[in-house]
Every structure is written in C-alpha cells, then in structure tokens.
Symmetry: C2
Subunit: 414 residues, 2 copies
C-alpha cells in the first residue's frame, strides 16, 4: 500500500495534515487544541476538562440539543479528551459526511455558547468524574505517579481538584476558551477517503479567519517526594514505578521504545514472564513509554494482593535494573515482528491514522508515513539499543504505592 | 463494497465461516470454543478461565516459552476471553502469516500441555484476577446484577469463586479440556485478505480428525433475590438495573435493540440527556442489550456520588418505564444514521468482522453480511418499535446497588 501525507499551514498557524486512504469509505479527523491542563492557572485545576464539557453544550446557531442531534444525524462517532498539552476532539464517519461534520466542529471550537444556565450540570459531571477515580485505585496510583515524576505543570491530572472545580465560574471558562482555543498550536489530522484540494479549501474557509493568540507555559519544579504511599483499605496493593526516558522527537526514541517493548510488549516480554507467568504475582503488569514534547518517562504498573506486593515490587525493580545489561537478539526479532504486524493493522484504520499524524506533527513538526516508521524499526539493532541502555540505565525511580501497607524499596535501588 | 460470506461445516461439526476483505492486508480469526463457564461442574466456579490460562502454557511440540515466542514472531496480536457459552481465542496478523498462526492454534486447542509444574503459577494469576474485581466496584455491581438476572448457569461470572479456584487440581483441568474443547460447537470465523479454497483445506487438515464430544447444559433456576445491596465503604454508589429482552435470534431483536439505542446510544440518548447532561448525576451512564442464545436482558449502569444515588436510581427507572410509551421519529432517524455509519466502519476491520460472523453463526446458524444488517436497520419503523415496546414494556427490574447506603426502589416500580 502506498502512503502519502499532505499538509498545509494556514497563515494563522493552524496546521492541516492528511493521509488519503482511498480503499476505505470512512473519514476520520482529530483536532489537537493547545488547551491542555498545563495551561490552567493556579487554583483552577480541572478548568480544561470543565471547558471541554461546556463546549459540547451548544455552538454557533445550534443550541445544546440541536448541536448533538445534528452531529448524530451525520453518523459521527466522536470522542474528546484532555491531556497535559491538548484538548482533543475526534470523530469518524462516512466520507461524504466529513464536510458538514467539520462545519459543526468549527462552531464548537470557535463559537461555543458555554451556556451559563448549564454551568451547574456541567460542574456536577466533572465532579462526578473526579470522584469516580477515588473508586479506581489502579488509575489513582498512576495519576499520582505522574504528578511525582514530572515537574509541574507536566505531571498534572486533567481531572483537576475538588476545591478548584467547585469554585470555577462562567467567566473563568470563557477566559480559558478565549485564551487557549486558538489556531496557532492547533493541529487537525484527517485520514480516510478524502479529496485533498477540497479539504484544504474547506478548512481554510472554516478556520482561515480565526485569530491567533499568544500562548506560553513555564516549567515549574518537581517539589514532591518521589516515594509515596497512599493508604487505602483493601486486600489489593497497586504499584506504580517511573523513570526518565527520551521523548518522541529524540533521535534515540526508537532505541528507548524498543527497550520498553522488551520489558512489556506481548506475552514473551520480561515483566509479563517474570511477574505474571513464572510467579503468578498479578493479573496485569505493564510498562509503557509516555512522551511529552520535551521530556518522557517509562511508567510501570502492577496490581497485586497485599501479601505478595513486596515481592512484586522487588521483582519489577530487579527487571528494570537488569534491562541496563541489554537485550537479546531473539527479543529484538520478536519485537520487530510484533511492531511490523501492528503497523499493517494501523494502516487499515482511518481513526488511528488521523490521530497519529496529528500527534506526529505536534512532536516533530511533520508526520511520518507508516512506511517510514517501518524503516526506522527495521534499522534497529541490538548494538544500538544496548548502547542506548548503557548510556541511559533505568534508575532514579519514582515509586508510588496504594494499599493497606507501605512497601520497602530494596537497598541499592536509587 | 460487495461482501460475501462463505462457510463450511466439517464432518465432526466444526464450522468455518469466512468473509474475504481483499482491500486489506491483514487477516483475523476468532475461535468460539464451547467451553464457557456454563459448562463448569458444581464447586468448580472459575474452571473455564483456569483452563484457558493453562492452555496458553505450551502445546504440541512447543514448550510454554517456544509457544509464545513463535506466535510473536508471526506478529499475531492475540486475545482470549471466557463467557458463559464460550472460551474465545482470537488473533490478527498479516495475511501471509495466517497459515502458521492457525497451525499453532490447532495445537493450543487440541494438544495443550496443561503443565502440572505451572499449575500454581496459573492458579495465582486467576486468583489475582478474581481479587482485582474486589477493587473495581463498577465491574462488581454488574457481575452481581447478571447473577441475579439470569437463572444458573447463565448468570455466572467467568472469574469464578475463591474456594473453587483454590481447590482445582490438574485432573479437573484435563477433564474440562477433554470434555469441552471439541469440534462440535466450535465456530471459527476468519476475515480479511484470505484465499477461501486454501483456507477450507488448511482448516480441514488441521481440525478434520478432531473427535466430537457430547455436550449439554441444563437450565437451573434463579433462586436469588432480585433486589440486592452490597455494602462497600465509599463516597460513590454503583447502580445496576436489568430487565428481560429478546435474544439476537428473535425476529423482534432489531426492534428491541433500537429501543435500547434510544435509551443509550450516543449523546442524544435519553439516559445520557436526563441523567448526565441535564442533572449532572454521573459521568458514566449506559444501557446495553446483552444476549445469550435463548434469553437476553437489558443491563443498565450508573456510578454516582452517595448523596445523589437515590435521585439517579429514580431518574433511571422513570426513563425505563417511560420507554414503554414509545420512541419519536427523530430518535429513530438519529439512531439509523449512527448505526449505518458504524456499519461502514466495521466493514474496514478484519478483527471486528471475524468475531461478528462467528457470533452470528452461534446465534443464527448462519452469518449476516453488513449489507443485510443495513437492510434490517433501514426497515425499522417507529410503528414496529412502538408495537414491540407496547408488548414488552420494561418491567420486573432486577436492581443491585453497591455503596455505603442501600437505596429505595420507588413505589409502583415492579
């Protein structure tokens, strides 16, 4: 399958990046808006998520009900999420419905009503979401891990904080929207059955006169302890471990990512084998490469019974430390086969491609074809991965646990 | 896109059903094995899941390590699950790797080692999974709801029970495998870039001499109360509600399913609008049509704060009761648009199609093309849906709650 990626940068800074997939009948789109929770002012934790919730309650000439109704009549499967850097809005539908769908999203992004009379209903929804995390220990431990692994604002949880969510009023939401929903920094990825010249024109017509805004975020410091135990009455213990890695834009990214894949990609991976298969310490264990633009981490998780939690932590840390000694050729062969196969399957999904090319642009200022990614994976060698690991051995671990008893980080582990 | 579905029934009862999707490069397969938890003998709750866990630990000429390693070298993305009726094994890979992948799965199904020296590690894994549900109240309430909605064995949880999992020995696992992993009742769905004549031959070669077994399941009675509160210290309350519906094979299925879609399909649906958007009672609320072969239910869920739980239950039940009065034309138009768009997107996924056609065969003894499903959806009318609802008004609710305080089912709700 030949792949080509087309892009256009409008005068106001908006980026359009597109991948025609003409064997499909669907088209998918993904807006990355520079309205992530890193943009929230002090004492407003959760403002990005609250604004996103309100933006869906009517826009342009449509009230809340008409807005949703028109989108559903177009058969749009939509979803939105808030991360540190972005508020994302995505959708997929039959390609012929792409144009009216983009028209509705232009209203959503540029002309939302943010209706004051729905503020309390919206607040109740974001409060319910925040509280539901209290009931999900696995999610809670990983949010706390990120908060302690990155300097503020990069470790923030998009769910926000109770006191802040309770105090936010309509003016704060309007201000946040006016400041952060802007064409500069916004990336629109589109993939599927698309007509590129028409797409470029339509997006220009819908977004060309959107005024850019100045934006900036300043790094803070990580002032929290990197060892934390959250007390929680349960017979289960949740374990989160993090260590620094290189971001997606780094020339060494594929080496770093391959090493994580040896730890945790598939059933033959080291964590799965040592923690789950051999010792039966838990049902779920994983490590994942988490990347921001200028920094990145490996985040590891296991959920286990209280009585086996210490052993689980010990085995996980031992595997992380052992990774520095390098990977085997067989491990590299298996991960190449897994990744190549996964790339083929990605190439068959318009939703997957529209969000991937938008994310690529954010990190790299361009998008990679899957053929290009395949070539980078082909070029991986045991030597290059092991050289990377020798220079960047996993260490300086952030460790967060949640359960009835704290655990000991073994002597000799920094 | 033209679609054709091909099928072959081998002499031993094994069904092969396939959908060529020649615009793709992948091929996906889905085995439904009649080894669901409804087949578990008394005091062996969890045996199906334990057997599934052990079946992946080596088969044929490959030990545990080689088995996983060879599958991963073929780039197979796999997954398995246990339901009431089936243990399912699925995989997707590049189409050229389909043949060796099926060869490995033939070993897994017919010649697993079920190694005694890995029994304790396997037991620890299934025990960990069972315990992790204790920490996931949303899942726990829905498992309890099903247990109280269906007569045994149809309401069973595949996760099993603690005492049973602790007592199971290798002989029980070997017996369960010998009795339930059999060609009669097994359905293999394959979709993607496939060569049908070769597929039929290869599957015949790999499975043609597999000996059939007699199997049967007897319905029990539902002896548990249909109102239950599970005490759990939390500021959140989980609510599950169920009522009877018609199964997939029933001529009225699309009417029943459309009505559920009006309740809970998309952001304009009644539950989403009334419970989440207008009142902000919760972040997640849904109703879903759950079908077995000969019986079915609508299962509803909401997770909310303790102080708003009673209001949430009241509003949900009121919406369920109100459904009997019928649906609006606008609601029907929107759901048709949503479903038609979703069908287009399903047609682009080999994994989705391979499991759908296998499930179709289980329920209907044949598989529907997506064009046929589209036609059935087109033929839905407000009149036919409302006639169905008048005859089958939602009632006789099973209600399970989990939280610090029990709730009251309103007077007049049966």
């Amino acid at each position: 399958m030949t792949q080509s990626i087309l892009s256009h940068v409008y005068e106001n800074g908006l980026v359009l990046v597109a991948e025609p997939m003409m064997s499909l009948e669907s088209a998918a789109f993904s807006f990355l808006i520079p309205a992530g929770c890193s943009q929230e002012p002090p004492h407003r934790a959760g403002l990005a998520a609250f604004t996103c919730e309100m933006a869906l309650r009517g826009a342009g000439k449509r009230d809340s009900h008409q807005f949703i109704s028109d989108l559903e009549n177009l058969g749009v499967e939509r979803g939105e999420s808030v991360s540190v850097n972005h508020t994302s809005f995505g959708g997929a539908t039959m390609s012929k419905n792409l144009w009216p769908a983009l028209e509705i999203f232009a209203d959503l992004l540029r002309r939302p009503h943010l209706p004051a009379d729905q503020l309390e209903a919206g607040r109740a929804v974001v409060l319910q979401e925040l509280r539901s995390i209290e009931d999900e220990p696995a999610q809670k431990v990983m949010l706390e891990l990120r908060r302690r692994q990155y300097p503020d604002p990069w470790g923030r949880s998009s769910h926000g904080e109770l006191a802040a969510l309770r105090s936010i009023q309509s003016d704060a939401i309007r201000d946040f929207h006016a400041r952060t929903y802007a064409p500069n920094g916004t990336i629109l990825g589109v993939a599927g059955r698309i007509d590129w010249p028409r797409l470029k024109d339509e997006v220009g017509r819908l977004f060309g006169d959107w005024k850019p805004n100045p934006t900036s975020v300043h790094d803070g410091e990580q002032k929290l302890s990197r060892r934390e135990h959250l007390a929680h009455e349960s017979n289960q213990t949740q374990i989160g471990i993090a260590y620094a890695s290189v971001p997606y834009r780094d020339p060494d990214y594929y080496q770093a990512s391959a090493a994580v894949n040896v730890l945790s990609g598939g059933m033959s991976s080291r964590l799965f084998t040592e923690v789950r298969e051999k010792r039966g310490l838990c049902y779920t264990v994983y490590a994942t490469h988490h990347t921001l633009r200028d920094r990145a981490s490996v985040l590891c998780y296991a959920g286990t019974s209280a009585e086996r939690a210490q052993e689980t932590l010990d085995v996980m840390l031992a595997e992380l430390v052992r990774l520095a000694a390098g990977v085997e050729q067989q491990e590299l062969d298996r991960l190449k086969a897994r990744i190549k196969s996964a790339l083929i399957m990605q190439q068959e999904s318009s939703s997957s491609r529209s969000s991937s090319i938008a994310r690529d642009w954010f990190h790299l200022g361009r998008a990679r074809t899957l053929a290009e990614v395949g070539k980078l994976v082909d070029e991986l060698t045991r030597k290059s991965i092991n050289a990377y690991l020798a220079e960047h051995p996993p260490r300086d671990f952030t460790v967060v646990t949640l359960g009835s008893q704290p655990l000991e980080v073994p002597v000799g582990i920094s």
